[in-house]
């Protein structure tokens, strides 16, 4: 089974430098033998362009890679089926999973320290990709390399869903690809159809229009629905609250949450930069302009009628609140559909939930003369390769990236744990097409219409902001928006505080 080639090159990546330095101490303490570190090892057989595909897959048989990933279904699925990859390539992959902030922390430390403990890592487009793009290898050279096995569908922008390759792959330089799309979290509206139907008549009496959710539903409508439900709730009726925002502790998702509203109204952007490429020197931020102040006011107005624990609920907690039946609407990432449709954990399962695109901008709220769109954003999780790793490790890592983003794997994950495909071709599979309607075996497929057919397309989709200081920017935004929602500062002051601090980060 272990096909060890005759001309194998052994190269320990873990050079055990500690034997020279601190190893003296460690060994003296008798702990040296306990060291079971993270080491990637490489074994290599030469292949030519003309070699068989099988030989190309197997060229690094006997090697070992460490993949650092977020603890989401695709990664669990990959870990569960990693034997398949081993059978295909002979490469052992250790899949480590962690919370996104922890992944950022660990990968950041690794690549910035000039190391490659994690030769392949999960690169969530903005928090990791935009922050660490300089440390990611350009995948373009591997894609062109005919001594490597390549995906039959290729890696062109067309083989992925609209904008996906740009979202996670394009950072600051045209033509350089820093990551391949591996999983996707696209925002869409989850709402309680049963609650809407039940109260539609009462609502119509008061507001003179129907209580429903579709692509034409605006943020103003969301505010109305929420106000209406809150009033009933306060009157002691047995209804859920209307809406809740993503505040909690996860700063990035707060930025995304307010961004959806901002972008819907005149396609407002945080910085005057190219939304696709981003910029290392973004210049002064747009916060503090008339549009942003208006939006912050509306965000606060919405917050005032939201679920009472609005400030404590981050993205994950929000989904729990929705699952427990306490709110009637949430804008959530489409990968969460699987957990909402799980009868074992969710009171919103069993056909009670329907899915719609993110709300449309309200024309009367637009201050910059732009148009109203259904502002939709995403976190496209890419697979990136550590530039610090040796050439051979990078190549072996690319083989893994090819496998991990392949149609077959994505299809299997979707069928199993409920994944979020990034390759268009997955959606063409007959049973995936069938799964888009209830009853379904792939709950995430219920969201495909608002997400893949609508949200991610122009003009609704917003990719950025891609800036190196993105994480500090998220934290600043998160803090000031929370303070505004908590009533500790006015919307105008919040916008000004964001501008002051953000510009300070960029030395302006």
């Amino acid at each position: 089974m272990f096909n060890i080639p005759k001309n194998a090159i052994y190269k320990r990546i873990n050079r055990r430098k500690f034997l020279e330095l601190g190893g003296g101490v460690a060994t003296a303490l008798g702990t040296g033998s306990l060291a079971v570190g993270l080491n990637s090892t490489i074994m290599k057989t030469s292949v030519q362009a003309s070699s068989s595909p099988e030989a190309k897959w197997k060229q690094y048989a006997g090697s070992k890679l460490v993949f650092m990933s977020e603890n989401t279904p695709p990664s669990f699925a990959i870990r569960d089926t990693i034997k398949e990859f081993f059978d295909l390539t002979g490469i052992t992959v250790e899949v480590l999973t962690d919370d996104l902030p922890v992944v950022l922390q660990k990968v950041g430390i690794d690549v910035r320290g000039g190391k490659a403990d994690f030769p392949v890592f999960y690169s969530q487009d903005k928090p990791i990709g935009a922050a660490l793009a300089d440390y990611c290898a350009d995948l373009g050279k591997f894609i062109k390399d005919d001594t490597l096995p390549q995906d039959p569908e290729g890696y062109g922008a067309d083989s992925w869903f609209d904008n996906f390759l740009d979202a996670c792959g394009s950072m600051y330089e045209k033509g350089k690809i820093v990551a391949l799309p591996y999983d996707a979290a696209i925002a869409c509206t989850f709402y309680r159809q049963d609650v809407f139907e039940k109260h539609s008549k009462d609502f119509e009496k008061e507001y003179k229009y129907r209580m429903e959710f579709n692509a034409k539903t605006t943020w103003k409508n969301v505010l109305d629905y929420t106000t209406f439900l809150q009033k009933m709730k306060k009157a002691g009726q047995d209804v859920p609250y209307g809406y809740a925002q993503h505040l909690g502790t996860f700063a990035w998702t707060t930025q995304l949450d307010i961004q959806r509203m901002m972008y819907s109204h005149g396609q407002w952007l945080d910085f005057k930069i190219d939304d696709i490429l981003g910029s290392k020197k973004p210049g002064p931020t747009n916060w503090g302009d008339a549009s942003s102040i208006e939006m912050m006011k509306q965000y606060k107005a919405l917050a005032d009628v939201c679920h009472p624990d609005n400030l404590a609920n981050g993205t994950l907690e929000l989904n729990t609140v929705y699952q427990s039946g306490q709110i009637a609407m949430q804008i959530q990432y489409h990968e969460f559909a699987a957990s909402v449709e799980d009868e074992k954990t969710s009171k919103a399962a069993g056909g009670k939930t329907a899915y719609a695109p993110c709300p449309l901008g309200e024309a009367s709220w637009i201050k910059n003369g732009g148009k109203a769109v259904n502002g939709t954003n995403c976190g496209i999780g890419g697979i990136a390769i550590n530039k610090n790793a040796s050439e051979d490790i990078q190549r072996a890592a690319f083989i893994f990236a090819t496998y991990a983003t392949s149609k077959k794997l994505q299809y299997n994950v979707l069928k199993g744990l409920g994944g979020t495909p990034t390759r268009k071709s997955v959606l063409a599979e007959p049973d995936v097409v069938a799964a888009r309607k209830r009853p379904t075996k792939m709950p995430n497929a219920l969201t495909f219409e608002p997400v893949y057919d609508f949200g991610i397309k122009a003009p609704n989709f917003v990719l950025g902001p891609k800036i190196p200081e993105v994480n500090e920017y998220h934290k600043i935004l998160h803090a000031e928006v929370s303070k505004c929602v908590a009533g500790k500062q006015s919307p105008e002051d919040a916008c000004k505080a964001i501008k002051k601090q953000t510009d300070n980060v960029h030395d302006i």
Binding site: V25, P101, L247, T249, D309, L311, S482
Partner: protein, 327 residues
């Protein structure tokens, strides 16, 4: 100091021994015994620990100083910027707010822990079940702070938390959870600290109370009305040095650990619980601004060392020494 060569004792003969009335009389004493201990011998004993300690503490300290003078940007390159990081800190509201919140947090923790802890000690002292009760009360201290944070997060949750249900049922809180409101979030993290560490105060106070002369205490039981006055005039002076130690220790631990805060609020909502170490964590491990992070870390270290100096003074306080020896 008399040099004694190798420092270790040389082989001794037992020739000079004889007995007088059953007692051993030694005429020959090993030279090593009379000689003052060799400094080299003791240095050898100390060396491994000190070298190891120096390697894992001194080097980081100088690294921090060096790093705090650098600007570590988004890229791999660093640039020497002198005191720019410190100047920037001076103008950084979050830095100062961090300090204020850290002291506020520590103050409230201690206020409640001392009040409840001392009272508990008074109640428990000499109680029939003192031993078993204190053993039970100690249990929260054994729990990892990170786990305690998770458990309390679960208890406080507004959707399924039993404590939230209790607070709501008692009318203390509305539908907003304790960690979801800027007014109560600080109370939330303080409550967890009280739960975990009040027993330590009780334990320390009890140790101090055992040294209060018993007859005096019994005398004050006769006259119930003056019990409080006697507590102030007899017990308190006796346990005061112990309380001081407790206060210093808890204060330092509040500086050292942020596990509970990270799990419960992460510094939120709206940064009302963003104590300095949490901010430091963000700067170093989320923004990767290692230069700025090092500057913050140094200020934190220096304040801790000043506290440490005070603490050691308290340790060597003649008052507590005297009591110790009297035992």
């Amino acid at each position: 100091m008399v040099p004694t060569g190798s420092g270790s004792a040389r082989p001794t003969t037992h020739n000079g021994e004889h007995y007088v009335d059953g007692a051993r009389v030694i005429e020959y004493l090993p030279s090593s015994l009379n000689a003052l201990p060799s400094s080299r011998y003791y240095l050898w004993l100390m060396a491994p620990a000190l070298i190891l300690l120096a390697a894992i503490t001194l080097y980081p300290f100088f690294w921090l100083i060096w790093m705090s003078l650098q600007n570590v940007g988004a890229g791999p390159e660093t640039e020497f910027v002198g005191f720019k990081n410190y100047i920037r800190l001076w103008a950084d509201d979050k830095f100062w707010t961090g300090w204020v919140l850290l002291f506020k947090y520590s103050f409230f923790c201690l206020l409640f822990e001392i009040t409840i802890g001392v009272f508990l000690a008074v109640v428990l002292n000499g109680h029939r079940f003192e031993n078993i009760l204190i053993t039970i009360f100690l249990m929260p201290m054994m729990m990892a702070p990170a786990i305690a944070g998770l458990v309390w997060y679960y208890l406080f949750n507004s959707t399924f938390g039993w404590y939230h249900w209790l607070f709501q049922s008692l009318g203390i809180l509305g539908e907003t959870s304790i960690i979801g409101s800027t007014e109560t979030a600080m109370a939330g993290i303080v409550i967890v600290d009280i739960w975990q560490w009040t027993p330590l105060i009780t334990l320390i106070t009890l140790a101090g109370m055992k040294r209060v002369p018993r007859d005096q205490l019994e005398a004050n039981m006769v006259d119930g009305a003056s019990a409080v006055r006697n507590f102030i005039s007899i017990t308190l002076p006796n346990i005061y040095p112990f309380l001081l130690i407790a206060i210093m220790l808890r204060f330092m631990d509040n500086f050292r650990f942020i596990d509970v805060i990270m799990r419960l609020t992460g510094g939120g909502p709206a940064e009302v619980t963003k104590v300095l170490p949490v901010y430091l964590f963000d700067v170093s491990f989320v923004f990767f601004k290692l230069g700025r992070g090092s500057a913050i870390a140094l200020t934190l270290l220096i304040v801790t060392i000043i506290f440490g100096k005070l603490l050691v003074k308290v340790f060597e306080n003649p008052a507590s020494k005297r009591i110790d020896q009297g035992n």
